[in-house]
């Protein structure tokens, strides 16, 4: 699904930060109101916004929480120049927001396996909430079970566990993985996924994931090997516009754009994308191997 095109959402809207939550030593969640037009802006799980730090840069970021009264949040890992500047921001400081952009995760019947690798967890929080809502109130979509795999390099980099525990209900599960084994399962989220798939014999599984692209590529291969389990994977690329004209986020060989045809891609499309897990473009438009 694609969002309706609305030109009014393609210019940054400066809005003050109303709360900041320190998730761990390198991740902060910034909460603000996004009401650039007279009517409420509908944001769906997995969609992204362009976030402008005036005086610095503007970067695409997934919306981590979609709240009431136009309140939304982004969760930012302090990993680069712009994200580092964002970490210095205080309540009341203004950031520019435009969007939302792209398609979104859609809850599917059956068992949901949701994987977040590092800060990728922020992008899947709202689909976990959506799945949980459907599970509690099964009108059109029936969710049997939510298995959440939350992975990080080490214990101190894990995030959102308390929040996940609150969202997840009986017979759901939260699997924690760290590369160094400092907490939970020692190993990658993908190894945990394999273990779960080899063990369980549930029908109609859907895998939702966001994280480093190499992880996503492995998730995809594992799912393809397990009778082509449907996936919804959230890809990330450099972009200038977010609405389909700069071309930096084009994927080979189909020319699909991460900003508009994605960022969530399913099996049929991922099978065709030769760039997937391999090639990105930098801000000049030059390709590089990831």
């Amino acid at each position: 699904m694609k969002p309706p095109y609305d030109y009014r959402l393609n210019k940054p809207f400066l809005t003050p930060i109303i709360d900041i939550i320190k998730e761990n030593n390198r991740i902060k969640t910034f909460i603000f109101e996004y009401n650039p037009i007279s009517e409420p802006v509908k944001i769906n799980p997995g969609q992204f916004v362009m976030v402008w730090v005036p005086g610095s840069d503007e970067i695409p970021m997934s919306v981590s929480h979609i709240g009431k009264n136009s309140k939304i949040s982004i969760s930012v890992a302090d990993v680069g120049e712009t994200t580092h500047l964002m970490h210095q921001l205080k309540i009341g400081d203004k950031i520019g927001i435009r969007g939302p952009y792209g398609n979104w995760f859609t809850s599917q019947n059956g068992t949901a396996i949701v994987i977040g690798g590092g800060i990728g967890m922020a992008s899947v929080l709202s689909i976990i909430q959506d799945l949980s809502n459907h599970k509690n109130d099964p009108i059109d979509i029936k969710i049997d079970k939510i298995i959440c795999i939350n992975g990080a390099k080490t214990k101190s980099e894990l995030c959102f566990n308390k929040e996940l525990q609150k969202i997840l209900k009986e017979n759901d599960s939260l699997e924690i993985c760290t590369d160094d084994g400092s907490r939970g399962f020692k190993g990658f989220t993908t190894e945990k996924l394999k273990e779960i798939l080899n063990k369980g014999k549930s029908n109609s599984i859907t895998v939702y994931a966001c994280g480093p692209e190499k992880m996503l590529k492995t998730v995809f291969q594992i799912c393809e090997d397990h009778n082509k389990i449907p996936v919804q994977l959230n890809l990330e690329r450099m972009m200038r516009c977010g609405f389909g004209i700069c071309g930096l986020c084009a994927l080979d060989p189909t020319g699909l754009l991460v900003c508009r045809d994605g960022p969530i891609f399913t099996n049929e499309i991922l099978r065709e994308i030769t760039d997937f897990g391999k090639i990105h473009r930098d801000f000049s438009g030059k390709t590089y191997l990831i």
């Binding site: 210019k11 940054p12 700069c246 930096l248 060989p253 000049s284 438009g285």
Partner: protein, 315 residues
């Protein structure tokens, strides 16, 4: 290949007059393949310079009103060496004309990038002397420099050379003539118009560079006017560019004197726009029993003698 929309520019045949404008979707070969599959007549790459250039930071492209955009990308590009394989790939995967847009620090560098593009397979070169928020803007403001740069590129290559002009001056005619005198095979008019957008709450310029180039619907009358003014003064074909979003806009440019047109900002609304525009043109031509769109070229000038020149006064 001959059909009611086909046209020819300096020996290059276009199945239809819609060409991708430089700077939009013109960096990844896959994007160009996608537009080719969607029915576009030709494509122009992003402007390519001698070395990798990141341009200006974001925000660098915003939509300031319905269908009107302001950008200060700042000629970001991978550099010709990295772009050579991309040109080759585009040529391998498409069979429509490919125009490579080039720029550089001096005439020799323009020529060098153009030569390398030709060797990689470009069908034509477009010289960018008109990006309004980069160093090259000053070239396009001077007739002398425009001629000099055009001559240098013409000397270096054996394929047609188009010169893309800026609208950011009082009189575009001398620049168009200078390009023709320098040997240009066609003129592309216009590049973006200098513009500025400010945040309402804070007064702060929104683009990282402040002033940017306006494109889209807002500039169409400026583009049509420039083509209209240039047409009687040059013999070479004109490619109209600026703000085309529907088939009627294409006709306006053709009436003003354009042989073909370039589309850019409209692709924010998807590549389906190509077919919408082509269908509209086909229907119009059929309805008026016109065998080729080119019969309408310059038609607006039939009315030159009828235009009011002097305002009227009381008494």
């Amino acid at each position: 290949m001959l059909n009611e929309l086909s046209c020819e520019i300096s020996g290059i045949e276009f199945e239809n007059p819609l060409i991708l404008a430089s700077g939009i979707l013109g960096v990844a070969p896959s994007s160009i393949v996608r537009l080719s599959n969607a029915g576009i007549g030709g494509t122009t790459t992003k402007s390519i310079g001698p070395r990798t250039r990141f341009g200006f930071s974001n925000p660098s492209i915003i939509e300031i009103d319905d269908g009107s955009f302001l950008n200060s990308v700042g000629l970001a590009n991978p550099g010709i060496e990295a772009f050579i394989p991309e040109i080759k790939e585009i040529k391998k995967k498409t069979n429509i004309p490919l125009i490579v847009s080039v720029f550089g620090d001096d005439p020799h560098i323009y020529a060098e990038v153009a030569k390398k593009s030709e060797l990689a397979g470009a069908d034509a070169i477009e010289i960018n002397v008109s990006c309004p928020h980069a160093e090259v803007a000053s070239i396009g403001l001077s007739a002398e420099l425009t001629k000099k740069f055009t001559e240098q590129v013409k000397k270096a290559v054996n394929i047609p050379v188009f010169v893309k002009l800026t609208p950011n001056l009082a009189n575009i005619i001398p620049i168009a003539k200078a390009a023709e005198n320098g040997g240009a095979d066609a003129i592309v008019a216009i590049n973006t118009v200098r513009g500025l957008s400010l945040d309402i709450e804070t007064g702060r310029p929104i683009l990282s560079h402040g002033i940017g180039g306006l494109s889209g619907k807002a500039i169409r009358p400026i583009g049509v006017r420039c083509v209209y003014e240039i047409y009687p003064h040059v013999k070479i074909p004109i490619i109209g560019c600026g703000g085309i979003s529907k088939w009627q806009d294409v006709l306006e440019y053709i009436y003003a004197g354009a042989t073909a047109v370039q589309l850019g900002s409209i692709f924010s609304r998807g590549e389906e726009k190509i077919n919408e525009i082509l269908d509209g043109l086909h229907i119009f031509l059929k309805k008026h029993n016109i065998s080729n769109l080119q019969e309408l070229r310059g038609k607006s000038h039939d009315f030159d003698d009828e235009l009011e020149v002097k305002p009227k006064f009381q008494n």
